[in-house]
Structure formats: C-alpha cells, structure tokens
C-alpha cells in the first residue's frame, strides 16, 4: 500500500514537472506569436496579455512594406529546396558508389571523405569567401547552393544505408540488362526512401536556418535569406537599444511557425534521421 501510494505520488509529480517544463519551453514561441499582433506598447506591458487587445496585422504589413521580406522568403525557400534536391541526388549516388562497388582507391577516397568531416566549416570560411568574391558569386544563389550540394556527412549516411540493401537485387537487374545508372535509379533510390526522407528533412532545415555563411556572402538587402534579413532588421543596434520589435516578431513568427507545423507532421522522419546520424558515427 505504501509503495503504491509512493508510486502514485511519483507519477503525479512527474506529470506535473513535465507539463510545467513543456509550458516553459513553448512560452517563448507563444509570446512571439502573440507579440507579432500587438502594438509596441502592448508588447512591453507586464503582465503580458496572451490574446492581444487590438489584434492587428500591422506588424506584418510593415514587415512586407518596409523590408523586402517576400524576397527573403523566396530566397530561403529556393535555396533550401535546391540544396535539398542536389544533396539527395549526389549523396545517394556517391553513397551507392562507395557501398556497392569495389574499385581502386575505394578505401583511400572514403577515408578522405571521412577525414574531411573533422574539418570545421569555419576554417574554410575566409578562403571560401575570397573564392566567392573572385567568382563574383557574392549576393547570388550560387554561393549558397553550389558549395553545399554534396556534404561528406550525407554521403557517409547514405553509404551506410545503401550497404544494407542486398546486392542480389543489383545482380538480377544486371542480368535483365539494366545499366548501372538504371540500377541506381530504379532499385537503389526507391529502396533508400527512409534514409532519403530523413536526409531531406535534416538538409532542408540546415539550409533554412543557416546563418554564418549567408551572413558572410550576402550584403545586398534583396539577396538576403530569412535569418540574415531578420537579423538585419535589428540593424547595427547595440545591446539594449530600441529595435522595430513588432515587425521583428512578425518575421520571427513567419520563419519558425511553418517549420514547427511541418515538424509536427514529419517528426518521425526527423527523429529517425537524427538518431541514425548518431548511431552510425
């Protein structure tokens, strides 16, 4: 009886603590969403109102008229989609090459690939920036897409997955006269769907949220991606000074809320992808 009581109390405490934690975690998001519809005065009020007194879309209107917000959105979306498609294609293709063929240099080339994952992007930030300037790629999509179309980590992930696909399928396809690319396209790709889905979510999010590199190569206002544009709304402000808060909150809402909604739909793939990346390393 005593331990039963203890267990019940424990369960209640657990549920209450997890619930409170969940509320604290979601609070900044709720606050942001609510603030995006408020006037500056109401944003600053304490205690804060959950439902804005004057629910007004004016922050959103200001955001799209005073800043090229739709340009930023289109830029971010275009770059993320193209990078994702390219990464899926090149990573699965190279992963297939490494997983299913014995060829001269296989091991060495794969070791080079693995070794390169130890080099932090920041080491090549400056040289890559110089290359972009020389190619006149600053402020272009090229700078955001082309260097990131075949990351070593994604190839590693795809190789690990494709290794587990039985080779007999390839053999029988060859006997049926399939070309090597045909095998990739008609057998490997469809069977890699779970890995591709996970990789797609990880890649899309990585591109969508990326900041350091776009900040380095984008200077023109119209060329910016969402994170760079959002940060620029804050401008060269110093800590604690005034910022156009309302439009900032509207922008932050439009960047995060659609992604959170998509996350809720694809969370299984996403979490599978994250854990695959951890187990396989």
């Amino acid at each position: 009886m005593d331990t039963k009581m203890q267990r019940r109390i424990g369960a209640i405490v657990l549920n209450v603590v997890v619930g409170l934690g969940g509320i604290i975690i979601i609070l900044p998001v709720v606050w942001m969403l609510s603030a995006s519809f408020k006037s500056t005065a109401e944003i600053y009020r304490f205690p804060p109102t959950l439902i804005p007194e004057n629910l007004s879309p004016s922050n959103y209107q200001r955001l799209v008229t005073d800043w090229p917000f739709w340009n930023w959105y289109v830029n971010s979306l275009f770059v993320a989609v193209v990078v994702t498609i390219a990464v899926l294609f090149f990573s699965s293709l190279a992963g297939f090459g490494f997983a299913k063929y014995r060829f001269r240099g296989n091991k060495v080339l794969f070791l080079i690939l693995l070794g390169s994952t130890m080099i932090p992007f920041q080491l090549i930030l400056i040289p890559l920036f110089i290359i972009m300037s020389r190619l006149s790629w600053t402020n272009t999509y090229n700078a955001l897409i082309i260097p990131f179309m075949a990351p070593a980590v994604s190839i590693f992930l795809m190789r690990q997955f494709i290794t587990s696909i039985p080779s007999e399928l390839m053999e029988s396809a060859r006997i049926d006269g399939a070309s090597e690319f045909g095998i990739y396209w008609r057998i490997i790709l469809p069977l890699s769907r779970p890995a591709l889905a996970a990789l797609a979510v990880l890649t899309f999010l990585g591109s969508w949220n990326s900041f350091l590199w776009p900040l380095s190569v984008l200077r023109a206002r119209e060329a910016m991606t969402l994170p760079v544009g959002l940060a620029s709304i804050q401008g060269g402000l110093t800590a604690g000074s005034e910022a156009p808060i309302g439009p900032s909150m509207a922008g932050a809402t439009l960047v995060t809320i659609p992604i959170i909604l998509v996350f809720i739909l694809v969370q299984r793939h996403y979490i599978a992808g994250l854990t695959a990346a951890s187990v396989k390393q």
């Binding site: 549920n15 969940g22 060829f103 999010l205 900041f211 804050q234 604690g240 900032s248």
Partner: protein
Amino acid sequence: MSLTDLEQVRSPSAAGKTAGMAQIRIAPYIFISPFFILFAVFFLFPTVFALILGFFNWRGLGQPEWFALRNYERLFRDQIFWQSVQNTIFYSGFSLFIIVPLALLEAMALNAKALRFKTLWRILYFAPIVTSTVAVAIVFRMLYNREFGIINNLLISLGAAPVDWLGDPAWVKWAVMGVVVWRWTGLLAVYFLAGLQAIPEELHEAAAIDGANAFQRFLHVTLPSLRPVILFVSVIVLIGSMQIFDDPQVLFGAGSPGGPANAGLSIVQYLYTRGINDLLFGYASAVGLFLFVVIFVLSLVQFRVFRGFEVD
C-alpha cells in the same frame, strides 16, 4: 530495334558481358565524381588556402605580404582573442556540465512509463530543435530586455533585483546560455531517448527483483548502458559549442557582437569580425586554424572512444 535485337541485348552474351564489366568498372568513379569535384574546389582547395593564408598579411587587394609566424605571434598576444577563447570555454563547460545532464533528465522523464500524453510532450520538448536560432535569439532579446523584458518583470514581482542581461558583463554569458539551453536540450534528449529505449527492459526488472531502488537502478543499469550515447553527446556538444556563433551574434546585435566588454564574444564571432568585417584574411585564418586544431583533437578523442566501444 527489333524484338530479336532486344532479346540479344538482354541475353548475357559474351560481348554483352565485357561491355557490362567495363561499365561496372567505370560506374563507381562516375557516381562519386560529383562529390569529389565539389570537394576539391570548395573544400580541399580552401582548406589548403586557409593554411597558407595564415602566413600572409592580405586584405584581398594587392600583393599578399609574407608574414611568417607574425599572425600567430599577434594572435597569442591578442587580449580580445583570449577573451573569446575564455568565453567559448565557458560556453563549452556549461553545455557539457549543465545541458547534457539536463537533457538526460529530460529524456528519462519523457521515457517514464507513468508519463501521460507522451507524443504531445515529445513534440513540445523537441520543437525548439527545428527553430531558427536567429528568430529565437531575437525573441529572447526581448525577453531579456532590462526594463520591459518578461524575465526582469518576473524577478521584480518575486521581490528579486532585476538583471541587465545583455548589458552587464557578469551576466551576458548566462543570457547566451539561456538561448542555448532552450534550443539544444531537446536535441540531446532525442539521442538519450533513443539510447534509453535500446536498454532491454529485463535489465531493469532483474535489478528491481534484486532489490535495487530507482536511484540504484539509474546508477547501475541506466548509466552504464548509456555510456556510448553519453560519450557521443558529450563530443558533439563540445564540438558544437566551440563553434557557437548565431546565438551571441544576434543576441548582442551587429553593433557590438561581443556584448559589453566582449564578455560574450565567441571564437567564431572573433574570426568573423576580423575576417569578414575587417578583411584581415591572414589573421582570421590563423584564428580558424586554432579552432581547427582544437576541434580536430576533440574529433580524434571521439574516434578513439568509439573504436574502443566497437572492440568491447
């Protein structure tokens, strides 16, 4: 092409076989070549370029000036650089010793049998992973506001003294960590949760039958089983926190990216400021090499640790 021709192509005739073999020999090179071309141009070349740049004084225009080790000599006497190293070590230490245990606790709570509405809580706790750091930092900037921010207003209503989160050098690092806790704990908890779910139920049951209480079971069943996951998480946390940039950069604003007295400046922020803002390409490359060496050592530790586990 007639039907009989097609049949011929399909049949593994001698000629068809050699053509097929040639294809099999060439195909893998073609498949991996897009990667290696991109790799050579946008990774290998810049990496070598970075190492060389560290020995030059160059601002992008005119002839690079041979500097030998002067960039590195300057760097090691650079107060701001050491400040950024110190700050980054703080970020790493905090992440390792506060966020990692917190994530483990979170994962255990989310995995507990007695917990209801599991899917709902998992979505709530894991949602921060997908948010944009820039958007989150902008929101936290408001929450941290000295006069109007919710956090200070809450402190005041609780009778505590308000804190100048983004203006007081003693507090700015904690403010940065607040954002990092919010964004990273869920991600690490995902790894821990996967690890916890891989522990066979029988282990816990056997320990319970032997009379082990919950804490003893945690100590003798959960922790040892999670060792590989804990090590993996610790290494990605260390490497990730060494590269911290977005959070302080947006929190403090482009006007003073390091916060007051550079008390929040990270190594990568310093690299960015020197390289992209001041165009001191050689000097920034020296900072980059320093960071590379630190991360390389951490990665080697990771590889060794995981080799060890495969052998076990």
